[in-house]
Amino acid sequence: MNFDLSDDQRDAAAGAREFFTGSVPLSAARAALEGEGPPAPGRKALADIGFLGITVPESAGGAGGSVLDLAVVAEQAGAVLAGPSLVTAARAAVLLEGAPDLAAQLADGSAAIAVLDGPVTGSAPSLDAADATLFLGLDGGALVVGEGEVTPGRPMDATRGLASVRMTSRRVLAEDAGELWARARQVGAVVMAAEDLGAADRAVLVGVDYAQQRQAFGRVIGSYQAVKHMLVDAWVGVDQLRSLVWWAAWAADSSPAELPLAAAAAKAYAAEVAERATETVVQVHGGIGFTWEHDAHLYWRRAKVDRLLLGDAAEHLDAVARLAVAGALG
């Protein structure tokens, strides 16, 4: 058994960490929230460094990498609340398997593509739709692509580029695309779990750092079990989530039969872990953690939004149970 990243994947993670920490200050998430700018680093920067095309085939101008390759990068993106989301790239790459020209435009950033959830005549809030110009949707079982009218609303987490869309033109890319659509959504769920892993991990570190500095009643607060145990529980969740994310990403690449269950497990657990970690970092900071000025709520917002996107925990827990009872777990 070798349930660990390869050296190449570790290097990729380190490189991604350097890129994201260098190009995405947390002030960008705050500026987006206050309507003063788009999410950072933005579509072009992600395309230029090759992250939008990690899972796009080399023949279509991508890197031909695995979902696991993408997941380790997505974790680093999540740590700084980067946008647009690599979930959109991952999901679109699956949907565009039969449309290499569009896949190439996805990879090089020349097309701003978003994937719509819900009816194409008035979609549910969809990731990265706010500044997209081309939309992929499921319309009566067919995969369609086209333009649309965008209604952004006032997002809880502005780094997600959420908007509702009414498609104004539609071209069928594939008939009978239900299975392809489902697989793309599962891959998207895995990558979202990876982004949540990064965000939750960073939140715990921020909380630990503060608990090592802040004093109360003559002692550093991290020495009190009430604080220490809260942080440990959050950390254990993050450690375990990392295992599920790796498993689900591996399943996407190497064991398609396991993907539906693994993706649902990772997504459900990510929702729980990210919520607990970000609630914890707010609580550890006390009153300061509840202020607009502190960064804690930027992570908290991400967790509160992600738990509802691509299916909430209730949907995914139910899916895990149904799939397991149907024999997916042996």
């Binding site: 145990h229 190497s254 827990l317 895990v320």
Partner: protein, 406 residues
Amino acid sequence: MDFDDTPEEASFRAHVRSVLEEHASELLHVAPGEPVDARSREAELRDTQRVLAEAGLVGVTWPREYGGQGGTLVQQAIVGQELGRARVPTLINHIGIGMCGPTVIAHGSDDQRSRYLARLLRADDVWCQLFSEPGSGSDLAALRTSAVRDGEDWVVNGQKVWTTLAHVADFGILLTRTDPSRPKHAGLTMFVVDMHAPGVTVRPLRQMSGGADFNEVFFDDVRIPDSERLGEPGEGWRVALTTLMNERVAIGGAGSDIGPSPESLTAHARDRLPALSPEQQVLARQAVGRALVASLATRYTGYRRFTTLSQGGVPGPEASAGKLGGTAAARLVTDAGVRLLGDEAVLGATADGDDTWQRAQAYVPGIAIAGGTDQVLRNILGERVLGLPPEPRTDKSAPFSSGGRR
């Protein structure tokens, strides 16, 4: 990344499987999750371990010179997985193999090693670990059981508690206080004690699950020859740390489930879901899904630790997270298992007379205590992994006899 054995691991696993098949008729087998009472099945359990020992599957990581196989922690884990797969219950001498034996190897005399170790592996002698006391569970170094030198012997008085297997044990490793004038960690000494010696009284404690896996043990003027000392007088804490480190290896696990497996919950759900109302089914599926996710998260985290072992690493303090996660998962799995029974569960036994899930549920609170409470494990993780400041330990340097005050 893969979940396959390396060629060496695969060939070792095949070897283990063939040994288990070859000796199948001589081994005790039990249903998944079935509790095994050590006293009523003592003879079968001892026989099973002897057969496995003779086939080279006991003490895999022990040095060859002491009857072990000189193998790796990965091989040990593979044996554990295959025994589970073959539904052979936990070895009766698991505490002896995992904790007592390694302590004797590290700190015992040549004479002690030659007298004890081979017999321990064959379950000719069953061992227990006499550490916890009524007044010192997690705060182990606060123990009070005394050993006073008298000629060539030591005379022991006091009480131990939560001693797993004491009711069938032949020997134990016993931590005592020999110098109360020194700080609590410095005045301790470890011995091998004959559990059949005059003055040793064992009283099983019935636990909330109804079973009795552990005991109170009373020592009334029990004489232990000085030749049965493990390590130097006053060095007992250092010796005990060897035991506790081995306990972490034994409990931290490498991908094995604590309590009923996700697969057994799934099979149970398959049987029981159709009998529930539609509303109950929704809730039960939520509970099953949540439990499976927690179990799988723990299992795959165990696979990461297994990989570390496989690459020659040793379990660090982060291994404590395995028990914490496993306990949490066991709680959810057994809760879901009972929920699937609907209100039949409250009668203790279902129409077919099976109360496996209720008993498993009542066992979980004990799992959350044994081998380090959830709170102690959180302290370990918080301090050694997250680098948070330690709990205050005001009695650390005060003489024990001062009651912890300077």
